[in-house]
Amino acid sequence: MPVVDLAHSSLRDLNGALHALTPDTNETHWTVINPRGQHNIAVGLDAPVEVEVEGHVGYYCAGMNKQARVTVRGNAGQGIAENMMSGKVHVTGDASQAAGASGNGGLLVIDGNASARCGISMKGIDIVVKGSVGHLSAFMAQAGNFVVLGDAGEALGDSIYEAHLYVRGTVASLGADCIEKPLGEEHKTELKRLLSEAGIDDVDTSEFKRYGSSRKLYHFHIDNVGSY
């Protein structure tokens, strides 16, 4: 149970130690205290370990994560879990802009709200936000699942490709090429799985609406010029 105190250890020492972990390490549970909003905490991890950060973090915490399960007990700055490949990142507070940006895999759970451009360019990551998300969330979202239990800001899913969006609350507006789609049983099953993985078992999937691409912008056509 290593405990790293960032009031006394450097970020480099922390990340270096986490990068040195081998797949068969016995040091599988790390605690980071006094993060004090530092940037780039626990970035580039590639081992099946648990990292608990006790406090607020700055930009890019758990960036490009693989395998690890990172919990932030506090708020997260910009780009939490950006380009995550696998594993899980859990923020108990709120997250700033671009949470889960360009993520390829794994699960990002935000207990509070997320700011603008949550899930921007997502490429396979699953994101569950228990609160609300800001404008241009899931902008150019390519693949993966995006679940919002609260409300979504303006231009949700603008220029979306094949990501699946589920919103329980209101949507201020949909972005270009994003439309509401029927919520079928297969979607409810998928949604139930995502909610369960995020630790939510008391919400009825029927309360959500599903959004996705109308695929009108997949090939440039002059008749759609107003959407570009």
Partner: protein, 443 residues
């Protein structure tokens, strides 16, 4: 026409404003309703390195003997922060060009050619392929706004990382690659549906300015344990400020791409009307580095329309540490080869003018994902051609440097240059030939 008619009607005269190209584009736009998208770089005549000349040594300077006295060409890039800076044998690198825009054999050929002469290649939008890594002894991994194919495993396999903020052909712009080139492999790498028109983002998804970029660079350093040099690439538009901010953000090296730089697919109107010619972008970039005390500490790599060893030598003399080539490398591989003229004509163009790289029908097998066309390019032969071309560029630059009395190509300096035109003198900040006057120097 009778003699009297000649007095009545003046001879036919075409407009300089509405020339053949302008008229053809108006007709094309009227017929299709969409702007022209194409590859390659600016085709209009721009101030360029041809407007500069070297002052060879006579009495006031002492030349070195060609073929007998050494003129070194090596360069180290990225020693500012990285534990493992890159060491290149020649100051000429291969610019970022994606697998997707280029075929697999073309990427392999670039790797083979560059590795043979001790220099680096660069990935591009779409990520790193095993073939590319396997055939490039030094590979620069681009982190692009789209983040297509971006992953930490490849990040750690790279010899350097290049954060692409902009391209010379389209500073501030994204891209549009037509669906013909989004084959299953390309689509899988980029996590896009197969066969769609691919839009590339113009800005990074998770940072919005230099303060953010500084943190982003630190993140990449942390992920790679501070081993790998970090480059920042900008399209030339406001070079003084962009270079200064890249330095402030912590870049180990900066790639400055001028307006003649190529692209896989962008609007023609963008390529021809946005950005600065390479010639005029170098001096303010070097000035920014000098003002910050970082010239030669943060390396400057200049790209955009480099064609021969004289262009290389002129970039170095103006203060660059290295140059990068893209379009010229494709030509060396065999792009636009006159031997394929009949096929180019079948596509409605001619060898030397083919630029519809985004359509994926390249007869040379280079800018295509068509397996039949791609198989035409022998990566071993094409790699050999590229190595030959890079060697010639190096020999030419050395020849000029020796004539200026330099034992290393980096010893070339602005004092070795004069300009043929006032415009070039003002832009490159070297004297007009035969004078000691640099326009604007007393302002």
């Amino acid at each position: 026409m009778t003699a009297q008619d000649r007095w009545i009607h003046t001879p036919p005269r075409k407009s300089a404003t509405f020339d053949d190209n302008a008229i053809a584009e108006i007709r094309r736009a009227a017929a299709t309703g969409i702007y022209d998208i194409r590859g390659a770089g600016a085709k209009r005549k721009l101030p360029h390195f041809d407007d500069l000349l070297f002052l060879g040594a006579s009495i006031s300077r002492y030349p070195l003997e060609g073929y007998r006295e050494k003129c070194a060409t090596d360069v180290t890039i990225g020693a500012r922060f990285a534990k493992k800076p890159i060491h290149l044998k020649i100051p000429i690198t291969i610019a970022g060009m994606s697998f997707g825009a280029l075929s697999g054999p073309a990427k392999e050929a670039l790797g083979r050619g560059a590795s043979a002469v001790g220099t680096s290649t660069t990935t591009g939008d779409g990520g790193m392929t095993a073939e590319e890594r396997g055939h490039s002894s030094l590979l620069v991994y681009q982190v692009l706004p789209s983040r297509y194919g971006m992953n930490p495993d490849d990040l750690r396999k790279a010899d350097a990382i290049e954060i692409v903020v902009g391209q010379g052909a389209k500073p501030g712009g994204g891209g549009m690659l037509l669906g013909q080139k989004i084959t299953k492999r390309v689509a899988d790498m980029r996590r896009l549906p197969e066969g769609i028109d691919q839009r590339s983002a113009c800005r990074h998804p998770d940072w919005t300015g230099p303060d953010d970029l500084e943190i982003k660079i630190q993140e990449l350093r942390e992920i790679t344990d501070w081993q790998t040099p970090i480059y920042v690439k900008v399209g030339a538009s406001r070079p003084y400020y962009d270079i200064a901010l890249a330095v402030k953000s912590g870049a180990d090296a900066i790639v400055l791409d001028g307006m003649q730089g190529g692209t896989a697919a962008t609007q023609d109107v963008f390529i021809e009307n946005v950005g600065l010619p390479t010639l005029c972008a170098i001096a303010p970039a070097v000035k920014a580095l000098q003002d910050l005390g970082m010239h030669r500490k943060v390396q400057l790599i200049v790209s955009g329309g480099i064609r021969n060893g004289a262009d290389v030598a002129k970039c170095l003399a103006l203060g660059a540490d290295a140059v990068s080539i893209g379009t010229a490398a494709l030509i060396a591989l065999g792009d636009n080869d006159p031997a394929l003229e009949a096929e180019y004509q079948a596509l409605g163009t001619t060898a030397g003018a083919y630029d519809d790289w985004h359509e994926g029908r390249d007869p040379a097998g280079i800018t295509t994902q068509d397996p039949v066309l791609a198989a035409r390019l022998d990566p071993v032969i094409a790699g050999r051609k590229l190595a030959n071309y890079l060697s010639v560029l190096t020999l030419e630059a050395q020849t000029i440097a020796r004539a200026c009395g330099k034992s290393h190509v980096h010893n070339l300096e602005p004092e070795d240059l004069v300009a043929l035109t006032m415009e070039a003198a003002a832009m490159a900040r070297v004297p007009l030939a035969g004078t000691n006057w640099i326009p604007g120097s007393n302002i």
